[in-house]
Amino acid sequence: MSSTVNTENVLEVKNLVKKFGKFKALDGLNLSVTKGEVHGFLGPNGAGKSTTIRVLLGILRKTSGEAVLFNKDPWKDAVSLHRRLAYIPGEVNLWPNLTGGEAIDLFARLRGSLNKKRRKELLERFELDPTKKCRTYSKGNRQKVAIVSALASDVELYIMDEPSSGLDPLMEATFQDSVRKLKNDGKTVLLSSHILAEAEALCDRITIIREGKDVETGTLEEFRHLTRMTIAVETAKPIPSLAKQKGVHNFRQKDNHSQFEVDNDKMDALVKFLAKYKIKHLTSTPPSLEKLFMRHYEDEEVK
């Protein structure tokens, strides 16, 4: 194994490139997932999330760079690695003439193990009828088949590619509960998503991918430090020239009410400046993941 790879990580990707003909789907991607964490993998459609996952599953062959799963090569050691993981595809295609129950059992057994008690529990929690033929399931129900099958397997790593697409809000909540349970049991989860609320609710760390490159990695906390707080302030007298202060963005003002964003490193100076105008009320809100996310894509559009 190369010395650049951290062997304590469950999953480690360095400078990964995957080309389809001339098209570069992955262009130097880095991603690492440590044991026991729920790692969010975020990006817009076509950013390369599914391609990354397919390389990690040994379904696609990398063009260059490194991809390591449990310190093994996902392409060469696919079979032994797959005993240790369960995969929920983004688009679940099932055999039309098998029942949902048969598909659940089949995948679990091909993986190696099926926890019968958990299977029963999960079917109840997700309200899935396992006697229906797969061709009669809606998209959400097909998704449930894949989720139930994966969660009924006892493995170390769960790789989920937009797992909750097609689920209704109630089922989305059930799904989030199940992922928390996995985390409590010490399992590792790679969760690709574009539902930001889901990632915000579940993930310990997040990697944002755009056009085949990772653009940001870290905990939500770290992300917030890098960016801006939103400040809403009411003062006794109007503040002139607030908009011109260093680090202030998206400034809006109505009478004595002002709302704006401020760079984190300018916060101290700004609060001192505001104090001169007699603060009556002040709220400061950390940025939501959505804001962080949007910022990356808005930046792209400006370029």
Partner: protein, 543 residues
Amino acid sequence: MKGLTGTWQLLRLALRRDRIKMPIWILAITAAMGANAPAVIDLVGESRAERVLYASTTAPSVVNRVFGGPIHGPEMGSIVMNETFIFTAIMVAFMSTLAIVRHTRQNEETGRSELIGAGIVGHHAAQTAALLLVIGANIILFGLLSGALIVAGLPKEGSIATGGAIAAIGITFGMIATITSHLSGTSWGANSLAGVSIAVVFVLRALGDSTGKIVNGGLGVESNWPSWLSPIGWGQQLYPFSENNWWVFGLFGASFVVLGVVSYAVNARRDLGMGIIPDKNGPAHAKAGLLSPLGLAWRLQKGIFRGWLIAMTLMGVVIGFISEEFKDLFTENPEFAEFLGEGSDKVGFSDFFFSAMMGFMAITLAGYATQSLLRLRSEESSGHLEPVLATKVSKPAWMMSHIAWTLVGSVVIFFVLGLATGVTYILITSGSWSELTDIVLASMVHLPAMLAFIGFVAFVFGFLPKAAVAVGWTAFALVYLMAQFGVILDLPQAVLNISPFAHTPAYPASDIITKPIVSLASAFVILLIGGIILFRRRDITTG
């Protein structure tokens, strides 16, 4: 008509999707009749004596009545009809049914229709666009086939009637496929039902023709009533080159009206995505037998296997049945033996007959190998394979699980074909059971060639995944056409030798020689290993 809004746009979409497929079908069908007509004329000979000889030996033959139809007299056109019509009619039936299912049920199954249906598109637009496509293709075929027959030197009126009959059969089956697409919830089911309808129509007229009366002084056949229940039979009852019964087209017209009314009435009532035949619920838990790559592959392969097994058992019984009548012709009519080809008089009847028949059936069974193995590709392209490979199943293990069933299936089907033929033959002729081994061997001797063909398709799957379906079926069509028409078309032996089936010794007419059998088996092993290695090394591609 609000129900038809958007038909024109959908037709353009269908034309765009089929821009390569349909022209290939149309050209292949035109070639099947157009290229064979002059070859048949050449082979039979144009003098009246030669034509009378052909008609007098053909009319009483049940084999010919089943596979060729009712000959009507010694006219050259009737002879060409007899040699080419049924084959062409079956091809046009498949072209039309596959196209209709592709543009109706398959769209629903893949969810494309939902997207289309949400646009400004009427309820009947999809079905109508598919029908217009098929009607258009058949009208083009009408022109090309009539033209080809006229160019071959046949009378104008008869040529036009023949081309028209083929086109009318194509449209009839297109309309039948709109109904099978309503009945079944899957395109596989809709195609299967349409295939069954083609088989039923073939068998109905085979029954009517084989039980018909000899007329025209021994030169013609008057079919029994079951032929009149079959659209392919109607085409033949036109007797294009002798009577030109134009009124028979009225039957086609009436069937268009009936099928159309039924199909549109069902279409107006049916929910999108659902079949009329309801989906039953199944087991909540998988049986242990399903829970392995081999078990899953069996589940996906057993329908194909059963269909072919039933068809080949029936064919075996039919071959056994007709063998007696063939035997009489063979022993009583030396000219007939001569007509069958060089050397046929030197070996015993059964040796000659069974080696020829089993040779033909073996090539038909290459279709089983193709259909069964291309399941590999459809599993990959439909996205079913990806989650399977994300488990501990390895790529070679998955690939071999399907190929294993193709191999087992081939052995069983070849064995049962030989057995059904032999048992029927021995019962019918009160023959000796000692002949059974030879007849079963006559079928099984083709297994090495089948293996080589299986190896080829497996290799193509590993090497050219996206072209695998096209290459696989084209290879089957070429092998089939070379065997069917290679001699008539006088193709050089080097070309005929491309087919693995050309290397099988014609047992029991000739001895089993080990050399070609060993070479064919080695070709299988090399191609199979190559296919697996290439598959291991390549990406999985969907869509």
